[in-house]
Structure formats: structure tokens, C-alpha cells
């Protein structure tokens, strides 16, 4: 206990206000002060200025906490802010009496945290949301002021944890178009920001270093009986990178488990849904205030959080199975309860459920963003790269499981695109394992060497399932095969240059064969295949023109370098400068035999030989522009004249043949 002193609450409030103004002024002009002092050659040390400014903010917080306590004591003594003065009509504001308070204890911001937790508790206990709203008016400002204040954060979340998590359910509007009032949104935003900031704080040093939020508080967060409300704090909280990745990962697991267990994850229905317009509106509300989606989105923005979830060798597969699914939509509603029941009651009775539940709204974009984030760590030897590689393994396994259980069902487009993204990012790794079946997919460091980057090694059966789901439309096949054409060029170059014994061309070809087979199963019509071919050409050209400018093949390449280059080319910038018109025009006008002649592997092989320096095209060659091969009749002519010329130990024809053999495209 400290020393009790007598204070005038109103003067204390004024002092707080002036301290706050002083802090603001110093903070705003700090850079200018430092700059001027340096310019004038002042010997006054300005390096401590930021520390002083931070201390000034602490003083503001301390004084603010004392002011709150002083007013509270005044109220306990019977003082009321508004009262009737003798001889005056209406209400006048009353000056609070002097009170005595413990200057030291109340000056600690932890005290303010406790008070704010109590305010929140009282407000949320109010039955009427309007009462809760009024009681909480001052809370957002206080939470914002103490965002970086460990004492406050620890005290507030220790006291308010379970209650704060239910704030959304207490605050939502029972009628009207918006689910939350502006004030409620402000409270939820402030609570979300506070929770995010607290999640990133650490206390103690060395071995004793630990999260500010104790395990018990974290357990209340993840074990909440009201996952929807928790999701709303995350929705209105800050962007994913402002959160602790572990907490977001725990929250994601908790939300997915709650969803799987059939707990309430959707916003409450407000009143009876009388018509199908009401029912439809409620579906829109569900999609807008989708708690699981909100948490998945933040975890995706965070990146590492998604990788913690899917990259865990023990539990990642379980969550990947929940995510790789066609269930990511609002539940829809039973139209038989509404007007449509009157339209055709007979056939409905004859075949119950003959109408699909209408009003389902797709919510898979957050799921897809999460899947993408889970596989997006920078490649390397880090734990993050390891989790990313395991995430790839689990996503492939989950896709194979889904296809096995639902052979006729295609995954939602967004999720399929996340699979394409994954396949693209890990293409060389997939190629390395596409030809041999083995017992179980795993993530490992190549060559079982801790110095090598982490890589997913996925079974061919699972790869086939992944591509079978990912690629559905001709353009998707076209784009993917275009990416492979780009990589084939690198593979040819690598086969010449890389001193390692890996045969990239053959591996890439093996995977290409798999894609080709899957496409064959679709039996696309000729017109659609033209689209596919166009997309493929553009993609290949964009990869080669966008990626190779920065690459140098002049230095000897170490083992693994080519894999790195193949990975680097995974997301090529589209090069608008490069003209694809001619190539496209050419094969549109000359149709079949032109395509047959030049649009298979010859061009990528030729490109690879040029990149490796094995072929130096003549200066006047019209089919090379900035080092990039254009598929023209001139190119076909040049190739026919050089088919028996040897390049790096093989004739051009042999190079092409090897690529074709590998792709199993030979007649």
C-alpha cells in the first residue's frame, strides 16, 4: 500500500488532460526537435527523447487511472455529476468533493485494467443492449490508450477474458439492417486490437520468457462456448500480422473443431424468418458475419498461423481434411417453409428434398486464402519452411481422401485454385516423386541433409488426386501446361549445366505425363482445346520472358540450385512488353499441322538449349526476341535444318525425343 492523499477529482482530470496534450505535442514534434538540435550542433543528448516521450505516456495513463478512481470514490460518497441547485431551474453539473486515494496503487495502470474489466462485466451483464452500449462508451478509448501497456493488458484480460469473448453476442442489434451499431463496432474493434496486442506481448527474460497472456487466459479464448462471438473479435480486430501466430493457430483449431462438432458458429437469427426474403437476408448476414471465415482470413494474413495449423505432423492432416471440402457455404434454408411450399406441394411430398436448399452462399474464399498461406513460407531450412512442406503433404492427402469419399464431387473453384497455386509452387518437388509409388508421403530435407531445404515428397496416387481436383477447365490445363513448358526449358538447361545427377527433364516429363492423362479423362471438345493451347502458349512465354532475364547460367551451379530456380519461376511476372500476338495469330490461321509441328516440346527444348548456351541463334533469327523463342514458321524451318546438329552431346532431335519419351507423348 502506498500513501493516501487528498485530491480534487476535477483538478486531477485537468492535470491528466494537460499531460496528455504535452505527450501529444512531444510525440508529434519529436523528429523535428531531433533534426533541429542536430542541425544546430547542440550538445544536448536527444537520443533519450523517445524514452522520455514513452515515459510521458505512462504518466498520462497513471494519472488517468487515478482520475477514474477519484470520480468513483466521489460517487461512493453520494456525489452525482448532475444535480439540482437551489433556485436554479433544470439540472446543473456538480463539482465532485475532495476524496482521499492511494496515490501509488491507483497510479499503476494495472489498476485501470481491472477497472475497465469490471466496467465491461457490468455492461455486458445488462439485459438491454442499449444499456450495455451506454456503459461501454468510454471503453474503446481506454483500451486504445493502453494498447502497448503490459500492466494494463495483463490485468484487463485476466479480469475480462471470458466476458470480452461474449461481447458480440451481448452487443448485436435485435432488429434493423446492420447487426452492430457504430458504437458496438467501435467496442469490438478496440477489444480485438487489445487482444491482438496482448497476444504478442512477452514477459520475463531468458528461460523465464513467456507470453503475457497466461495459459489459463489463452485456454478461455480457445475453449469458449461461444465461438461466433470470439470470431467477431477477430473479424473486427486488426490485420493478421498484428496477432501472435500461435494464438491465431489455436483459435483456428478451436473454430474448426467447434464447426465440426456442430456448435453455433453463425450469427443469431433475429426474430422469426417469416418469408423467403427474410430467410435469404439471413443467409447474407451469415456470410457477412462468418466467424470461422473471419478467423481463417486473419490466420491467412498472418501466414505462420496457417502453417502452424496445417504443418503439424500430428494434427495437420485432420484440419486439412476439414478445409479441403465442398462444405464451405452458408447452410441455406428450406424453401418448403416459405412461399415455394405453395407452388408445388404435391411433387414435394412425393419426393422430399427434391429442391436443393436455396440461398447457400459460398464462403470458400477465406478457406482458400488459408490453404494458400499454409504453403507459402519462403523455401529453406527454417521451421517455417518445414511447416509449409508438411502443409503441402497434408493438403495433398486431404484432397485424395476427399476424392475417394466423393468421387463425383468437384471442390469449389476457390479451393481448386488454392490447389493449383500449391501445385505450381511445389512443381519441381512434385515432379521428383511423380514416377515412383512408395509407402507414405512426408516432408523431408532433400538427401536427408540438414543443410538442404525442406521439400514435400508426395505419393503419385495423391498427386494424381490433387491434379484431378485442381484442374477442371481447358484454360486451367493450358495455364498449367504452359508453366511446365517454361520449366522444361529450365530442365533442359539444367541437365547440361547442373553438376548433380538429377535428371530434371525426365522428372518434369513424368509429371507432365500425369497432367496429360488427367486431361485426357475430361474429353474436351476441339474448340475448348484451342483455348487451352492459347493459354498455354501465353503462360510459357510469360514465364520465360519474365523469369530468365534475371537468371545467369554462366556460373557453375551447385546441387539444388536448379530446384531453387524452378521455384523462383513459380510466380512469373506477366510481361506486357512481350508480344504474343504473332504466335497466336500464326497457329490460329494455319491450324492443325502448324500446332502439330511446333507446339509440342520442340520450342521449350530449343528455349532450354539457348538458355544453357548450347545453341547460339543467328543474329538475324526472327524467332528469337530478347532471348525468348517465338513459335513461328521460321522457327520450325530452322529446327528442321538443324535436327541432326549436336548440342552438348546430343542431336537436337535426341533432346526432343528424350523430352517426348519422358512425357510419354510418343506415338
Amino acid at each position: 500500500m502506498g500513501e493516501f492523499v487528498g485530491v480534487d477529482p476535477e483538478n486531477l482530470k485537468e492535470l491528466t488532460k494537460r499531460l496528455e496534450q504535452l505527450h501529444e505535442l512531444l510525440a508529434r514534434h519529436s523528429p523535428l526537435i531531433q533534426q533541429k538540435m542536430q542541425k544546430w550542433g547542440s550538445e544536448v543528448a536527444v537520443t533519450s527523447l523517445p524514452g522520455l516521450i514513452a515515459a510521458a505516456l505512462d504518466d498520462v495513463r497513471d494519472m488517468d487511472a487515478r482520475t477514474t478512481r477519484a470520480y468513483e470514490l466521489a460517487r461512493q460518497q453520494g456525489w452525482s455529476a448532475l444535480g439540482r441547485a437551489p433556485g436554479v431551474l433544470g439540472l446543473t453539473s456538480n463539482r465532485p468533493p475532495n476524496v482521499r486515494l492511494d496515490w501509488e496503487a491507483t497510479g499503476q495502470s494495472g489498476y485501470q485494467g481491472e477497472r475497465d474489466a469490471e466496467t465491461l462485466a457490468a455492461a455486458l451483464a445488462a439485459k438491454d443492449p442499449e444499456d450495455a452500449r451506454i456503459a461501454l462508451l468510454g471503453l474503446p478509448e481506454s483500451l486504445r490508450r493502453h494498447l502497448a501497456d503490459k500492466d494494463y493488458q495483463a490485468a484487463f484480460w485476466a479480469g475480462a477474458g471470458p466476458l470480452a469473448l461474449r461481447a458480440a453476442r451481448a452487443l448485436y442489434e435485435r432488429a434493423g439492417s446492420a447487426l452492430f451499431s457504430a458504437e458496438s463496432v467501435s467496442v469490438l474493434r478496440a477489444l480485438g486490437a487489445s487482444l491482438a496486442a496482448a497476444s504478442q506481448m512477452r514477459v520475463g527474460t531468458g528461460k523465464d520468457r513467456r507470453p503475457l497472456l497466461p495459459a489459463a487466459t489463452r485456454a478461455t479464448l480457445t475453449g469458449s462456448s461461444d465461438p461466433w462471438s470470439v470470431g467477431m473479435l477477430v473479424k473486427y480486430g486488426p490485420e493478421g500480422r498484428s496477432w501472435d501466430s500461435r494464438l491465431l493457430a489455436d483459435l483456428t483449431r478451436a473454430m474448426l473443431d467447434a464447426r465440426a462438432a456442430g456448435k453455433t458458429i453463425w450469427p443469431p437469427a433475429r426474430g422469426k424468418l417469416e418469408t423467403d426474403v427474410d430467410a435469404s437476408r439471413h443467409q447474407r448476414l451469415m456470410a457477412e458475419y462468418d466467424a470461422v471465415g473471419a478467423v481463417l482470413q486473419r490466420a491467412a494474413e498472418n501466414g505462420m498461423a496457417a502453417r502452424h495449423v496445417l504443418g503439424d505432423p500430428a494434427t495437420g492432416l485432420k484440419y486439412a481434411r476439414m478445409l479441403v471440402s465442398d462444405s464451405w457455404h452458408t447452410p441455406g434454408y428450406d424453401a418448403s417453409l416459405y412461399s415455394s411450399a405453395y407452388l408445388d406441394p404435391v411433387s414435394r411430398d412425393a419426393a422430399p428434398g427434391y429442391l436443393e436448399p436455396p440461398g447457400k452462399i459460398d464462403t470458400s474464399s477465406s478457406t482458400a486464402a488459408f490453404l494458400k498461406a499454409a504453403v507459402s513460407a519462403e523455401r529453406g531450412t527454417s521451421t517455417d519452411a518445414k511447416e509449409s512442406a508438411w502443409s503441402v503433404v497434408h493438403i495433398a492427402q486431404a484432397t485424395a481422401d476427399f476424392s475417394k469419399l466423393h468421387p463425383q464431387t468437384v471442390l469449389p473453384r476457390e479451393i481448386r485454385h488454392a490447389l493449383i497455386y500449391t501445385a505450381d509452387r511445389y512443381l519441381p518437388d512434385f515432379a521428383a516423386s511423380a514416377s515412383h509409388e512408395f509407402t507414405a508421403s512426408i516432408a523431408m530435407q532433400r538427401g536427408e541433409d540438414a543443410a538442404n531445404p525442406w521439400a514435400p515428397v508426395v505419393r503419385p496416387a495423391e498427386l494424381e488426386a490433387l491434379f484431378g481436383q485442381a484442374l477442371q477447365e481447358p484454360k486451367e490445363f493450358g495455364a498449367y501446361k504452359g508453366k511446365m513448358d517454361g520449366r522444361i526449358s529450365v530442365a533442359v538447361a539444367a541437365t547440361i549445366r547442373d553438376p548433380s545427377d538429377q535428371n530434371y527433364l525426365r522428372e518434369m516429363g513424368g509429371l507432365y505425363g500425369m497432367i496429360q492423362r488427367i486431361q485426357g479423362d475430361h474429353h474436351f471438345a476441339e474448340e475448348q482445346l484451342k483455348d487451352e493451347q492459347a493459354t498455354r502458349t501465353q503462360t510459357a512465354i510469360s514465364i520465360i520472358s519474365g523469369g530468365f532475364g534475371a537468371l545467369s547460367f554462366s556460373n557453375p551451379l551447385g546441387p539444388g540450385t536448379i530446384t531453387q530456380i524452378l521455384v523462383a519461376l513459380a510466380a512469373p511476372p506477366l510481361n506486357a512488353m512481350f508480344d504474343t500476338d504473332f504466335a497466336l495469330q500464326a497457329f490460329k490461321s494455319n491450324a492443325d499441322d502448324f500446332r502439330a509441328q511446333v507446339l509440342h516440346v520442340e520450342a521449350p527444348v530449343l528455349q532450354g538449349l539457348i538458355l544453357a548456351g548450347a545453341i547460339n541463334p543467328p543474329d538475324d533469327a526472327s524467332w528469337v526476341k530478347n532471348g525468348v523463342v517465338t513459335r513461328t514458321a521460321a522457327m520450325a524451318d530452322w529446327m528442321s535444318r538443324h535436327s541432326d546438329t549436336r548440342y552438348s552431346g546430343k542431336t537436337f532431335t535426341e533432346w526432343v525425343k528424350e523430352a517426348q519419351d519422358a512425357m510419354r507423348l510418343q506415338q
Partner: protein
Amino acid sequence: MMRRRLASLLAVAVCTQMLASCTRIEPPTSPETGEAERRGQALVAVVQCFVDHNVLARSEAESHSWFENGKVQQTAALVDWASSHAETSFSGKTLQVWEDEATAGWPGWRCPL
């Protein structure tokens, strides 16, 4: 050229035999998945052949997780090892050539060393 044709014919014959005899195990989703199955098994036999005849030093094999109690295991680590040794020469032929031959003759292929 003649050798290639013979190999193809042999492969077709083996495939036909395989289709008739593999009803016991899970049927492959496509012939090519069957090929990955055969290639996976052939790789194990080839590497086992190398170890048994000291073409690949036993101490070298023992340094890898895919070698347990004297037997080559059909694991991800083996596939990874094979990927980085495709062009390595063993007894005069690259691993790739060994593997292609064994796959073409699978399951009748026997270690010729």
C-alpha cells in the same frame, strides 16, 4: 532400335500378365498409376541388387533411413535418393537405365549381377 522394340513388346506382355494377376491388391486408378506402382517396386529391387553385390557400399546404404536390417525400404527417402542419383553410374549403367529395364521386366526382373 531392335532392343527398344523388344523391350516394348516385353513390357506389353508383362503388363497383360500384371493386369490378370493383380486383382488381389487394390486396383490402380489408371494404367499409369500401375506404372508408378511397378516403378516403385522395381527401384527397391534394383537398389537392393546394388547393395547385395556391393555395387553400392553397404556403409553408404546404412547412412540412409531407407535401409533397415539389410533391406531397402520403399519410402519417400528412397525416392528422394533416386531422384538425386538418376544419372549416377552403377556397374556401367545409370540408375535411370537400371530402373527403366527393371520396370519394363517387372515383376519378372531378376538382379543380373
